[in-house]
Symmetry: C2
Subunit: 203 residues, 2 copies
């Protein structure tokens, strides 16, 4: 029997999840919380799995995940959210969440996913996996094609000299473009650019 806690500030979501998951004979919904603080209080009931929204008033999903994992390391937490941004995904997984599903696409199969993660494995939406595997391109789209090429080469560790040879540009041109790129992305130097490319914005 998998004991569940549902945490979402939208009562409608809570209700429908409760209804949906209550149908499964091997699930038991212990309760519902409307923010992170309430969720922590309810951990005393010893749930196996918590389904948690990220954006919530009072205490958000990330913060409460960290707190819960400290006090109750055995509880598996699955983030359940409407949108994916890479920052939230990384934060959540670092905080100790073992699942990250997008509400939209996956509600139907949620029962299987919850069972899989209740025994410890990590379950992610395919697009979420992609987001943590592939370089961050969200803000990179405001760059021109040529600028993007340069970013990719910087992110491979090439020097301005090498980049200029690869792209048949003068090193001066490369450095000028780099200045523009750093300005657009609000970064200071090529190292921060490489980190940004692979990791996304820090914090």
């Amino acid at each position: 029997m998998v004991k569940l806690l549902i945490v979402d500030d939208d009562p409608l979501v809570c209700q429908s999840l409760q209804l949906l998951l209550g149908k499964e004979t091997d699930f038991e919904v212990l309760g519902v919380a409307y923010n992170g603080r309430e969720a922590i209080k309810m951990c005393g009931r010893q749930p196996d799995v918590i389904l948690m929204d990220i954006q919530m008033p009072v205490m958000d999903g990330i913060e409460s995940t960290i707190k819960i994992k400290q006090q109750f390391p055995d509880i598996q937490i699955m983030m359940l959210t409407t949108f994916q941004d890479e920052r939230s995904i990384r934060l959540a997984l670092h905080a100790g969440a073992v699942g990250y599903l997008l509400k939209s696409s996956t509600i139907e199969n949620m029962a299987d996913q919850i069972r899989a993660m209740s025994t410890g494995s990590t379950v992610l939406s395919p697009s979420v996996l992609k987001a943590i595997m592939e370089p961050n391109r969200e803000d990179l789209q405001e760059l021109t094609e040529r600028e993007t090429e340069i970013v990719e080469l910087v992110a491979r560790g090439l020097s301005n000299q090498e980049i200029s040879e690869q792209l048949y540009l003068s090193t001066g041109r490369v450095r000028n473009m780099l200045t523009v790129i750093l300005d657009k992305l609000e970064l200071r130097d090529r190292t921060q650019l490489a980190i940004y490319y692979w990791q996304g914005k820090q914090q």
Copy 2:
């Protein structure tokens, strides 16, 4: 009904998987292959999910995953292997695998994991997630503690000046240590170091 294909060069593994998964009423094991080439041939039987070993003779798991995903994009492929190294994991996931489980830890709950991934989500062993989230530390271990601290700060995009303030060192000392670090890891500059930290050695 989930239709399965099992691909492993060890007949014993195939047999025990077949036995184990055959018990589930909603699974049907379509067949068994002993290498990647055979596996591709058997895709004509339209499996939903393939469980595949990485190391195999004739054609390994990564190569056949790429080929299968090209021809049959709807088939979900789960890597099932005894050891994890970060390179294999990244290669497999880039090749299109949506699962990566370690044989040891997870056989018991495999049925649930297969169900979860048959509908599209990604399933990973917890340690596998960790390997792709956390920085590559294999070669980093030949560094001293102080050196490692510096690497971490470089990998966050700090300048020598900022690092020296954080660690209460002179900037001269920081730069000297950086020279030693770059030498040990056979890298050229701080940007390559940051990339190495987050991405591992290129190629």
